[in-house]
Symmetry: C2
Subunit: 405 residues, 2 copies
């Protein structure tokens, strides 16, 4: 019998009423004579609430104990969802990451899946049970509980689907993948099909529907993904295979990210060791750098801008103050009110002129550009906060990302 | 180094502020150069809240899934308490029942402890860590999570102390064991010492400080108990050894229980098979009977009264309706507004006249007695609700259970 892995996110199970609705949907899938494995996240804002509790007890909660705490969120959901299924007359059983022997590395809060022991899950499925698995969590060789980090439940679902040779359905609170967030670009189109590659770019850009890490895993093991709204009859988005370049659209999606700030270091010595030093020290402080832009001025001095997550602003200040003299840095600033806007499209790879068209549109609309980076299928640019809505509108409409012109 | 097992109940850890206070107390114990093992319950009303959640999903939640759910309550507490200890600079680690390999029977919600594997706990203690263990929970041979039923955390604490050869300190929200609940008998005395036997009688009577099951276990393995208020300097109650009969007081304690109802079956055939039938069928319906009183009338017909938990009132009605004809029952009634008052005292065993003195006091105060039962060290009687305060006062004062006469 075919196996399907379904993942329901926190917003789909945020109340007991919603849990009961999800149970009815799962029952339908089971009645379509499939074996069903369900991955479920913690209810609503549970994880954030638990983090708040931890911080009210300790300023720097230990990462092992934090995982001990966070693990409870999903454990509550799996128990309740299983009860709801049983109440509908379904045979069902819940399993924690530890009971499933979903073995991970020992890096708490960012554990990576090493392997999943399928014996328990297969035994339960063979007895006709729906298996409800706690997403986001795992266990180490030494029986320590771990969590997989944000996007962990998506990753659990794809990993299980990969091991079981199953398809993976991700149910969420949106109808599928859109060319752009409809709140930003009214009339944004829903994509019925897309490729892993585009979805990874879209997800990293903050489309918030599925974590890029999970899509990368799906691509690696060629797990067919289907993303749709939970408890809805509306068709979602199917993701399989790679881009068909001949037919590829110029631009298929657009995203906005407000989480970063921009740091500019001016008048540095033009020495590649300095450049390496800067980014090495950021890495040592565990600060992720997103966009990087580097230029030499007329006299051969280097100007450098980069963006980092806003949460790391204090660490960055500390670091720059510490290394200032080593780097011969005389002038620097932080700009925190910035927004990154990006367009993604496989067609860019083969058809030139997308960047030019984007810059012309922005110029015509008098939108300042603070910084630009590009990849093979993506162009991102930073604008001062407040300009992003206009940027999305002019670019989105021109590239026909909306259903109405 | 001497090991001490400390148990903190739900009311001692009901907020993160209280958790931090408890952490300070534990730190002090550790500094007195003892190895410390802490057992902690779920925060405040967590267990009841989880039960409500379960019932909002299913009318009859599966018992395995209920344990999956309930286990999260203590897991939250151990993580938070461990973080609070670490925040004070203590080395500490939390362990769930499963990680501790606290093996139980597979009876969900009322599992019994089979054995505890001490290897993990000893390893952690030898590394100088305070070990924070989730009370109330265990795990079966097949890695299924269980709970030990109400009073389970007390039982976990005593069981661990027994295995570790340690003393066991139970910290709660009262200063120790009193001759009677001070809310009922103003001026009730606190006992600085008592015996296991008296405490078992007191605990079964609803003294609510420690579960009788835990005291029985402590008696069996002669684990010294100490019961005191958490985060207080006031001396609590030490429990060790058995009653010294020569010195025993006539009456050492008094308790009140409002949880039962009285059922009376009248004019039954006087046949011991009927008596056996009645209590067999109650047992089959899993209804616990507390007091039993049986009398024959002049014509040799049998009248029977007994008390059962109020929660079982519907089951009892159903059962009586079903068996009515078999038992030849023509007349029966339920009295739900009743209260059981009890006095406990080892001295009763050797000194007669306690019952007579109690009945005289009640008669002088015009308190109606609905039913009486006695054991070697206890007399219990049922009064109509509303009379219990007066009964406690006249008996308590006469037997000198208060500090002022």
């Amino acid at each position: 019998m075919e196996i399907v892995v379904q993942k329901y996110g926190g917003s789909s199970v945020c109340t007991t009423e919603k849990i009961k609705r999800v149970a009815k949907e799962i029952k339908k899938s089971k009645e379509e004579s499939q074996e069903v494995v369900v991955i479920v996240s913690a209810m609503g804002d549970t994880t954030d609430d638990l983090l708040k509790l931890a911080r009210s007890v300790s300023n720097k909660p230990d990462s092992r104990e934090l995982d001990m705490l966070l693990n409870t969120g999903e454990q509550v959901s799996i128990a309740l969802l299983t009860m709801a299924l049983q109440d509908l007359g379904c045979k069902a059983v819940s399993l924690t990451g530890a009971q499933l022997h979903l073995e991970t590395t020992a890096s708490h809060q960012k554990a990576r899946i090493k392997d999943i022991d399928l014996s328990r899950i297969k035994k339960e499925l063979s007895q006709g049970r729906i298996v409800v698995v706690a997403g986001f969590q795992g266990v180490t060789e030494k029986e320590e509980y771990t969590t997989l980090g944000r996007g962990g439940s998506d990753t659990s679902a794809v990993a299980l689907a990969a091991k079981l040779g199953a398809k993976c359905e991700i149910y969420t609170d949106v109808e599928g993948i859109y060319t752009c967030d409809p709140r930003l670009l009214p009339g944004a189109k829903k994509l019925t099909h897309t490729s892993y590659e585009e979805l990874i770019e879209m997800a990293s850009l903050g489309a918030e529907v599925i974590h890029p890490r999970a899509v990368e895993l799906a691509q690696k093991y060629q797990v067919p993904l289907y993303i749709a709204e939970s408890c809805s009859k509306v068709e979602g988005t199917t993701i399989n295979g790679n881009i068909d370049y001949l037919e590829a659209s110029l631009v298929t999606g657009m995203a906005v990210n407000r989480d970063d700030i921009q740091i500019t270091l001016r008048d540095l010595e033009s020495d590649s060791h300095i450049l390496a030093d800067v980014f090495n020290s950021l890495a040592e402080f565990e600060i992720n750098v997103d966009m990087i832009s580097q230029l030499l001025d007329k006299s051969g001095r280097m100007n450098l801008s980069f963006t980092i997550p806003e949460v790391d602003i204090d660490k960055a200040r500390e670091l720059i103050a510490y290394y200032k003299e080593d780097w011969g840095l005389s002038d620097w600033w932080i700009r925190s009110e910035v927004v990154k806007v990006s367009v993604v499209g496989p067609g860019m790879r083969t058809q030139p002129g997308v960047a030019a068209r984007v810059f012309r549109l922005l110029a015509e609309a008098s939108i300042p550009i603070l910084m630009v980076t590009t990849s093979e299928i993506k162009i991102s640019w930073l604008v001062p906060a407040g300009y992003e809505a206009k940027a999305v509108k002019v670019v989105g409409n021109d590239f026909e990302l909306t259903t109405k012109k």
